[in-house]
Symmetry: C2
Subunit: 336 residues, 2 copies
C-alpha cells in the first residue's frame, strides 16, 4: 500500500530521510511500506507538488548542486497544502520557533489531524506548545500523531516508554539533550572560551547562525516540555521550565569543578515533587562517574526513573541527522 | 476482562510479581488488567490450584513465614497443568537448565502455545534452545510468546528493538549481561580472590549454590543466544557461543589491566561478519571510558548497533528481581 506523504522542510533531516528511503526501498517494500512524496515545501529551496509522486533522487541531487529544487515551484502555501492536498501522512520538519509558540508547525499538524490524516514531526515546538490539544485531535479523528525524533533524535525514548513500559509510572527524568551546548561545554573543558567554542560550532554547521535557542537553553527547555507532557502528563510549555542556559559558564568555572571531580553539564530535568512535575534546564556539576557526566560533544543520554523499576539510561553515541530521520521513518512504519 | 494465569515457579521473581500486582491492583484495573492466578507450581514450596483464583497475599505471607504454601497441594505435574487447566497465560519462571537444553520449561511453553494460550517467560532456556519453533507455534496458533525479562531483567531490549526500531537491521550487540560475574569482577578489582568473591556472592544470595552457570559463562551465553536469535535471526544455542567464563581471571590480571587503563569485563557479543552472526562470551579488557567498562556490580548494559542509526546504549543501574517482575507484567499487559 502506498504511503503518500507531504513534507514541510527539506533540511538535513529531510534529506537524510529521503536518502534512507531511496537506499532501503527494497527492505521497506518487504515491510509493506511504499513511500510516495506528493509535495515538499521549503523556505529557501522552493516547493514542489506532484500527485503522482516526486523524484526523491532528483530532489537530492538538485539541492546538492544548486541548493534549490528545479522544476515548476508551486505558489500554494504549506498550510494550504496541508488543508487541501491528497496525502496520508504529514511530515513536519520545520525548525523550532519559541517566539511563535510552535507555529506555524502546530497549524500544519492541526490541519492534517483535523482531516483525519496522520502527522509525524521532528519539531519540538508543536508538541511543547500544543500537545494535549493535538493528541486529543488525533484520537478524536482516528489518526496518529507521533514525534519520537523530537528528543534524542530517533533513539527510542518516547516510544520506549509508551510501547515498552506499560503499567509503569514515570517519576522523573534527567538528561543531556542538547548537542550544541554539550559540544561547546566539551570544548570549554579544553580551555576554549564560550564565544570561540560557539563560533567553532557555527563554522562546523552544528550551531545555528542565531545560536540563542541552544545557548539560552530554549531547545533543551522545549525537549523537557515534550517529555514532561508526554511521559508525565504535565502541562508545561518551554516558557514554564526553570531555565538557565550556558551563558554564565566560563572555562575557569569548568576547571574549578574538574578540580573537585565534577563535570559541568547542561542537564534537562523533570521530577514529580509533591504531586506536581518540576522541570528545569540548568548547568549542573555532575560527579565524574555519573553516566551523564561522561557524555561528550555529540553524545546524548537520558535517565528514566519510574515507580516499578530502578533507573534506566538510554545513551546515544555521536548522533547525527540520520538518526533523526530514522525516528521519522520508524514513526511512519508504526502508522501502518 | 480477567487474565487467568498459571505460574511455574515462585522464587524471587514470582514473589516480586505477586507483590507488584497486589500493590498496583487499582492502576492495573484502570488498564483493563484484572489478574487471577489459577495455579502455581514449585519444586520446594508446594503447588496449588484454584479455578476461582488463589490468594496472592496469603501465598506471599505463607512463603515468607514457612517457605511453603499452606492448603491442599495438588499432585498434578506442571506439564499436566499446562496441558489441562483453564488459563489465558502461562508464566514460566523456572530456572535455566543448560544440560536439559531449556527443559522442562520449553515443554511447558510448548504445551501452552499448542493450545493457543499465551506464554511469558523470564527463563532464557526455552528461547535459547527452542526459539524458532516456539515463535512459529505461537504465530500459527494466534497467541503470543513474550520474554523481555530473559535479558537485562525487564529493561526494554528485545521489545525495544521489536516495537521501536522497525525497518532497522541489527548488525551487532555487546553487553554486560550477567550480574553475578560482574559483581565478582568488581570485588576482584578490590583484590578479593575469585573463590572468596564467589562465596561472598553466594552468602548474599546473588550467586546460586552451584555457581557454574554464571562463572563458566553459561547464563551469559544463553542471553547471547536469545539476542542473536531474536534480534538477528541467527540459529545459535548457548552451546554454539564461543564462551569462556571468568575462571582464569585473577586479581593480578585485573590490576595489570588497570595499570594500562583497562577494565576486565565479561562481555557478551553478537556481530554480523561476512553474512554470519558470530557470538562470544569472554573476558575483555575495555578502555576505562567505555560505557560498558563503567558498569559495576549489579549494573548491566548493552550497546545495540544497527545499519540505520549510530550505536545506542541501554543501561540499568543496580537491577533487582522487581525489574524482572516488571518485564513479565509488561509482557502480559502487551498481550491484552
Amino acid at each position: 500500500m502506498k504511503t503518500r506523504a507531504l513534507m514541510i522542510g527539506f533540511g538535513s533531516v529531510g534529506r537524510a530521510l529521503a536518502r534512507m528511503i531511496c537506499g532501503k526501498r527494497e527492505r521497506l517494500a518487504g515491510l509493506g511500506f511504499d513511500f510516495q512524496l506528493v509535495g515538499v515545501f521549503t523556505r529557501t529551496k522552493g516547493s514542489l507538488v506532484d500527485p503522482d509522486g516526486l523524484d526523491l533522487e532528483k530532489m537530492l541531487s538538485d539541492v546538492e548542486a544548486h541548493e534549490k529544487f528545479t522544476g515548476p515551484s508551486t505558489d500554494m502555501t504549506p498550510l494550504e497544502a496541508c488543508r487541501t492536498l491528497d496525502y496520508d501522512v504529514l511530515i513536519e520538519l520545520s525548525t523550532l520557533q519559541i517566539e511563535g509558540r510552535g507555529e506555524p508547525a502546530a497549524s500544519h499538524i492541526r490541519a492534517a489531524l483535523s482531516r483525519g490524516k496522520n502527522a509525524v514531526t521532528a519539531n519540538k515546538g508543536p508538541v511543547a506548545f500544543a500537545y494535549p490539544e493535538l493528541g486529543a485531535l488525533a484520537e478524536k479523528n482516528g489518526c496518529k500523531f507521533l514525534f519520537e525524533s523530537t528528543v534524542m533524535d530517533g533513539v527510542p525514548v518516547i516510544n520506549l516508554v509508551r510501547r515498552c513500559m506499560k503499567g509503569n509510572r514515570i517519576t522523573g527524568f534527567s538528561g543531556i539533550l542538547n548537542s550544541t551546548t554539550n559540544y561547546i561545554l566539551t570544548r570549554m573543558e579544553e580551555g576554549t572560551s564560550l564565544a570561540d567554542a560557539t563560533a567553532e560550532a557555527q563554522r562546523a554547521g552544528i550551531a545555528e547562525a542565531d545560536p540563542r535557542n541552544d545557548i539560552d537553553g530554549w531547545d533543551a527547555a522545549a525537549k523537557v516540555s515534550v517529555l514532561a507532557r508526554v511521559l508525565m502528563g504535565a502541562d508545561v510549555t518551554p516558557k514554564d521550565v526553570d531555565r538557565t542556559g550556558i551563558r554564565d559558564v566560563t572555562p575557569e568555572k569548568i576547571r574549578e569543578a574538574a578540580a573537585r571531580g565534577k563535570k559541568c553539564k547542561l542537564v534537562c530535568c523533570g521530577y514529580l515533587e509533591g504531586g506536581a512535575v518540576r522541570t528545569s534546564v540548568r548547568v549542573e556539576e555532575l560527579p565524574e562517574d555519573d553516566i551523564l557526566a561522561r557524555l561528550s560533544a555529540f553524545d546524548s543520554g537520558i535517565c528514566i526513573e519510574s515507580d516499578l523499576m530502578v533507573p534506566n539510561y538510554i545513551v546515544q553515541k555521536d548522533g547525527n541527522p540520520g538518526d533523526t530521520a530514522f525516528g521519522v521513518l520508524e514513526d511512519m512504519l508504526s502508522m501502518m
